[in-house]
Symmetry: C2
Subunit: 325 residues, 2 copies
């Protein structure tokens, strides 16, 4: 119920700090304005109307989506200028055409040649620079951003040389969180994860842990002293299996408990143990709340049919994402 | 559309062979009848009304669920005798009480003692024998089934000795696919995954690959000869990350292509490469279908808001699962 504290929620529950989400979105809007490039935010992380409104600064236009289901969802709710950024297989061409969404194509000239058949107009060149996800720190991120920008602009030059003028777009959350000056020469950037961020982004250097806007709430449902473990009511159905082997704290960071590790999971159970030492069970009574910070918020959000939204720890509403393809 | 071939589906699509699902369900019903033990099928793998009807042989009663959302869903649709088999945290006690579902408790006497407070009646003892998932072959499965049955029956004896008579239930898909005689002394068994089965169950020895009733259809959307890879339109959002490192063929088995491996995925893309040799791209034109057999059908099903149901390759309907907690 609105106004209730987070502790009123049944667990596991995916919760969004709306103030942090708004701050992350506003910073990206300002960063792109300052740089002088059009922001086209990606919807794939959250897939909700409310968060789309925040990311577009209320304009409800100029977005990018990863599925036709998202394209239909936003088009049905009045969104305009929707880019379906996907190597489109033949089964979806007709649907996308009916929707009148833009079909951007791919960076490689080779693919461009094979796709550019009669009746098709190249509207733009789209690259993701997903290799920023292997970076650590601003310097490495900006080196990848610079290289991707350079290659994309060189490719645009080649297109112009054969008489084709069209848009160019790059952008991952890391590169757009720390853009380089040359990105101003692109038509657009298209980050998405930044509205939530997550542990992965903080490790890459895109954000601080304080910027991460989402959590999964879970409760202690069992004490297993013979294994020096706690049992929690969040399994992979609530947090996802993303992040396996990436964190010293297991599949998530457990807020305020740096010595706890989410070791393993079944569908609806998680096993938590201390990184070192013996658990003091009096600190974790049955029913007590633990707060998981997701390794990858895109993967965690997709597990939840509803997001519980709060401001300063008080519930202010629910967001319902679209699902499927 | 009903009557269409599977190739009419947009991909990725989760498809259920209804004939195989019915055969798997019927075999379990007959196996339990022959053994003389009550079957209480688990709904967590599919979470649909249609499959529940198949698993209960049309009786629409005596089921087990893993979430309150499932309990409500089945209760709202007229199902009776619903067991919510979960170490219940305090936030859910009131809701479960309102629903009047049974609350079975846990195997360990210690937990039994800590829970058995005034006003609570112990209705049964429930053990999962999840350690059958580490088995290979019938002999190992039956050894675990025998041990779990023995321990459970010994525990029931201890309860009787202090004047408590209640039900007993064990059962995982492996142990109930190859039950041991002593399981007849239990009140119930509660397997779930068997209605779909999956690659994991075939590796354990619960079933043959021919028994696996579910697939994910995907299409080739890119050729990457510089990496000797295909790009497909199924990422972890369509097949899940379960099974990482468990199969020589990666995150799934690609039906009819034993030399292909689903190497890695992003949210909506999969990278496929040959286990050995060079890809012959003429065999995999853009838009061609590939069929993925899930490593773990519970984890794959949960990613899909709709299941496409077919009989002999022709679509016969859609099933819509419940989601959330």
């Amino acid at each position: 119920m609105e106004g209730d504290p987070l502790s009123a929620l049944c667990t596991p529950a995916f919760v969004v700090d709306v103030d942090k989400a708004k701050r992350n979105a506003q910073r990206m809007i300002e960063r792109c304005q300052k740089l002088g490039v059009q922001l086209r935010p990606h919807m794939k992380t959250h897939k909700t109307l409310e968060c789309a409104d925040i990311m577009t600064g209320g304009s409800q236009r100029c977005i990018v989506v990863s599925t036709l289901a998202e394209a239909c969802f936003y088009a049905d709710h009045g969104y305009d200028d929707i880019l379906y950024a996907y190597s489109i297989p033949f089964d979806k061409v007709l649907s996308a055409h009916t929707l009148n969404v833009s079909l951007f194509y791919i960076l490689l000239l080779k693919m461009y040649e094979s796709y550019l058949t009669e009746g098709v107009e190249l509207t733009g060149v789209y690259a993701h620079c997903g290799n920023t996800y292997y970076c650590t720190g601003v310097e490495q991120i900006q080196a990848v951003a610079q290289e991707t920008t350079k290659l994309t602009l060189q490719f645009m030059e080649k297109l112009r040389a054969v008489g084709i003028t069209c848009k160019s777009s790059i952008g991952s959350t890391p590169s757009c969180s720390h853009p380089v000056k040359d990105m101003a020469q692109l038509s657009e950037v298209h980050p998405g994860n930044y509205v939530f961020y997550d542990v992965q982004q903080s490790m890459i250097g895109s954000c601080c842990m304080e910027d991460v806007a989402v959590r999964v709430l879970t409760r202690v449902i069992g004490h297993c002293p013979h294994r020096n473990q706690l049992l929690i009511d969040c399994g992979w159905a609530g947090i996802s299996l993303d992040g396996a082997g990436k964190l010293p704290t297991g599949y998530a960071v457990i807020e305020g408990h740096p010595n706890l590790k989410l070791l393993s999971m079944t569908q609806e159970h998680g096993r938590v143990e201390p990184i070192s030492g013996q658990l003091d069970y009096s600190k974790y009574p049955l029913g007590s709340l633990l707060i998981l910070i997701p390794y990858h918020s895109c993967a965690t959000a997709v597990m939840h049919p509803v997001y519980h939204v709060h401001s300063k720890g008080r519930l202010v509403g629910k967001w319902t994402p679209t699902r499927g393809w």
